[in-house]
């Protein structure tokens, strides 16, 4: 019997030793000792013997009395405790109302102790069982997982899909299929279905994604080319969620700390934007409209997305400079520039549309910006309108593929054709912007190009085109967050310095999709497309990375034009080539000229390129001349052909 009791006894003993203060158990023990100090039976379980001879009606009072009792040797006494006989007697007389503390079941003290043992055992068994079950479940899970991983997902065939056409397929089903396909794509070798090709899976994925998210299929195709399937899914998911509302403190009028306090007083819940911005505040929720508080009206802050602060930070305008913002409406970036310039120097805020510029004028006045000339010109006219800027910012019009969460209509309205069209416009604007820069500026000569699109056509390809066209190099944007630009996209390979450009994504940065590139203009020279042009065009779509680099060196060596405008260039070309070029009259436009250079038929061009690669150093002025002559008759046609090839 003693043995049986032993474990429980031990527990109590330990408990008493470890507990410095008299707990309820201790008081119980004390009491038993007081009652029967003399008797020393080892077996004892005093626990339930709590009750003093006092009437059951006042258990609390008795506890108190006991507390005041002797403390010496309490623990010893407790461990030795009362004899079984006494206990029995005691418990018997009281067992109707006596209960072990915490014991819910026991009524009879003997059976009670036995029950508690078996209960412990039972508990242990239950625990064991649970553990076993868990282990089993875990194993089953593993197996299931293994099965899942090796299970072959059945890709619906053409016929099955046709059958499905009649019924409405629930979105959850599509989503499931999308996820299955993505899983298969990650381990295609093992998990593909016999006889189905990767492109079949991709087609189905594209089709499902466009249906599930409501995009035009060609846009989904575009994203799938840029991202891995799982990343594309993340991107599409993130594009459906709204971005947090962000405001920028206008340091011309307020400090961020004061502004935050004032807004919190009005019941706005906000936080600093991120560690890379000293002026941004993120708004979680607000009881007042953020665009109509007295602070907003008095110009202490501007509503501006996190992404659109980045290009200005990359631009780093200095006080006293002359800066051009080529597409300024509605004035968020312009006012940020003014704020960084401390209202000194000159900013020309240009935008094509008068209606949009009205908002710019309002915002700039509200924010207390005083050094801006607001105007409405076509950005493409720019070096003619005004030039010699220290810094130029071009936030180009774009397809908006990075801001789908703001404008859902982009999903169905943009087509690949649109993207090509905007890319063309962007190239024109960027050329104009670079031409309006003063390369000799002591502090600047910086051009920043940004778009709110993620497509490569509007970003890397535009930058690549400019690198080949003007004497510029890419600079680090100093934006530590953000991912480096692509250096390869499908069959295209870009200049190695393309990694200095920055991309921002909704799914990784919780910002709008954005692209920022920063150029330094090295000289006012133009890279006139001569013999090298053809070569470079090809190298862009060639696998040869080094080609681009070599090109750079070569071009800046061989060309020494100082003209800025295309007319002058044309005149100079005439002069250089002397008698040979009577056709110049018709082509004053740089585009046409370029077309002319592209003129030799494809085969011929390839041969020349090959030749060119071999004897790059020998390249003299003769070659371009002969090319021009050769190409003359077919000029325009070939130009068209080249454009196609590029895009």
């Amino acid at each position: 019997m003693g043995k049986i009791y032993f474990p429980e006894n031990m527990v109590i003993y330990k408990f008493l030793l470890s507990s410095p203060q008299p707990s309820s158990y201790v008081t119980m023990a004390k009491e038993t000792t007081n009652k029967r100090k003399a008797s020393r039976a080892p077996s004892s379980k005093k626990k339930k013997v709590v009750k003093p001879p006092t009437p059951p009606s006042s258990p609390g009072a008795s506890d108190d009395e006991v507390d005041s009792g002797s403390e010496v040797g309490d623990s010893d006494a407790a461990s030795s405790s009362a004899s079984g006989d006494e206990m029995k007697k005691f418990t018997d007389s009281n067992n109707k109302w006596l209960k072990m503390k915490g014991d819910t079941s026991g009524s009879d003290s003997d059976s009670d102790s036995e029950a508690s043992i078996s209960q412990i055992e039972r508990d242990a068994m239950i625990l064991d069982k649970e553990k076993e079950e868990e282990a089993k479940e875990f194993e089953q899970d593993l197996q299931r997982q293994r099965q899942d991983q090796t299970k072959i997902f059945h890709l619906p065939t053409q016929e099955e899909l046709e059958e499905d056409e009649d019924r409405v397929v629930p979105p959850t089903e599509i989503r499931e299929r999308v996820e299955e396909i993505i899983e298969v794509m990650q381990d295609f070798k093992r998990r593909r279905e016999e006889g189905r090709s990767r492109s079949e899976y991709m087609d189905q994925l594209e089709c499902d994604l466009s249906e599930y998210f409501g995009y035009l299929p060609e846009l989904i195709g575009l994203f799938l080319k840029m991202f891995s399937p799982s990343e594309a899914l993340e991107f599409l998911d993130a594009s459906d969620k709204p971005r947090p509302l962000v405001i920028r403190t206008n340091t011309l009028k307020a400090r961020r700390k004061d502004l935050a306090q004032a807004l919190i007083k009005r019941g706005v819940n906000l936080d600093p934007l991120a560690n890379w911005s000293k002026v941004g505040l993120k708004i979680y929720e607000s009881t007042v409209p953020i665009g109509a508080t007295p602070e907003y009206l008095s110009g202490h802050y501007m509503l501006q997305s996190a992404a659109s602060m980045c290009p200005v930070m990359a631009l780093e305008p200095q006080p006293g400079e002359k800066v051009l913002d080529m597409s300024s409406a509605p004035g968020g970036k312009t006012s940020y520039i003014a704020q960084l310039m401390k209202n000194q120097g000159i900013i020309v805020a240009n935008d094509l549309k008068v209606e949009r510029q009205k908002a710019t004028v309002g915002n700039l006045h509200r924010l207390g910006v005083k050094n801006v000339i607001t105007c409405c010109n076509d950005g493409k006219n720019f070096p003619k309108v005004m030039g010699n800027f220290d810094r130029v910012l071009l936030d180009a019009p774009c397809s908006g593929l990075g801001v789908i969460s703001r404008d859902q209509s982009i999903k169905v309205q943009r087509t690949v054709k649109d993207i090509e069209r905007t890319a063309h416009l962007q190239k024109e604007l960027l050329l104009a912007g670079i031409d309006s820069l003063n390369a000799k500026s002591k502090t600047g000569g910086i051009m920043v190009y940004s778009t709110c699109s993620v497509s490569v056509q509007e970003n890397e390809q535009v930058v690549q085109y400019i690198l080949g066209k003007r004497d510029v190099k890419l600079l680090d944007t100093n934006l530590k967050h953000g991912k480096p630009g692509f250096q390869r996209y499908q069959e295209r390979r870009f200049h190695p310095s393309m990694q200095l450009t920055r991309r921002f994504y909704p799914h990784t940065h919780n910002m709008d999709g954005f692209f920022v590139a920063k150029f330094q203009k090295l000289s006012n020279k133009e890279r006139v497309p001569q013999g090298e042009e053809a070569e470079e065009e090809v190298s862009a779509s060639d696998d040869d990375d080094d080609e681009g680099v070599q090109m750079d060196v070569e071009v800046s060596d061989s060309e020494s034009d100082v003209e800025v405008s295309s007319e002058k260039k044309a005149l100079r070309a005439k002069f250089m080539s002397g008698v040979v070029l009577p056709e110049d009259d018709e082509s004053l436009d740089s585009d046409e000229e370029e077309a002319k250079e592209e003129a030799p038929p494809k085969k011929q061009r390839w041969e020349k390129i090959k030749k060119g690669k071999k004897k790059k150093q020998e390249k003299g002025k003769k070659e371009p001349k002969s090319k021009q002559v050769a190409g003359k008759p077919k000029g325009k046609e070939q130009g068209g052909g080249k454009k196609k090839e590029k895009k």
Binding site: L297, Q357, N371
Partner: protein, 180 residues
């Protein structure tokens, strides 16, 4: 874009002087950089010299605004101050009125300021003198004319007007199209 004629100058200065009095000379002899007034499509702009030098490079008909817009000449050749001039006015203002937070919003919706909303007022404001209205935390909210002189204001009943509204920063939202 052209400089103001003598007449226009006089009309405008008359208006300005109700708010900033003789401080107009500080406007004309700005210590940091020389500034001048220019007229562009009825609007008068307060422009720094460096902007003035660059502006002619741009085609005149494409310029929408430069520097700070002070106000415009109406068809009847009167001068109307715009809210965009608030920064300049506030800097040189003679008379100021501070408005209690409770009636701040009411003023920003274009209402006059009653005595009950009056927090503080500069001493010695004459009746119909131009005042700048600020919030209790010194943020400029707009401008107007004093309906009563400071002395009379003290004995005014709570509903009586202290400042008659002329312009407030709420206009940036309310009539963006008219002002710019």
């Amino acid at each position: 874009m052209r400089p103001l004629t003598e007449d226009e100058m006089r009309t405008m200065f008359q208006k300005l002087s109700t708010y900033i009095g003789k401080n107009i000379q500080h406007l004309l002899q700005n210590k940091t950089e020389a500034h001048a007034f220019r007229l562009l499509k009825d609007r008068v702009y307060y422009v720094s010299e460096s902007l003035l030098k660059s502006a002619p490079n741009l085609p005149a008909d494409t310029i929408l605004s430069l520097g700070t817009c002070m106000g415009k000449f109406t068809k009847s050749k009167k001068f109307k101050l715009h809210i965009t001039s608030l920064d300049v006015l506030n800097r040189y203002a003679l008379y100021k009125v501070w408005v209690k937070p409770s009636s701040e919003m009411s003023f920003l919706y274009g209402n006059n300021i009653p005595k009950s909303g009056l927090g503080r007022i500069t001493d010695g404001v004459p009746q119909y003198g131009g005042v700048i209205v600020l919030s209790m935390s010194d943020v400029p909210l707009g401008f107007g004319v004093a309906a009563q002189s400071t002395e009379v204001c003290k004995e005014l009943e709570p509903t009586g007007n202290v400042v008659l509204h002329q312009g407030d920063i709420g206009e940036y939202l309310r009539n963006e199209d008219d002002v710019f």
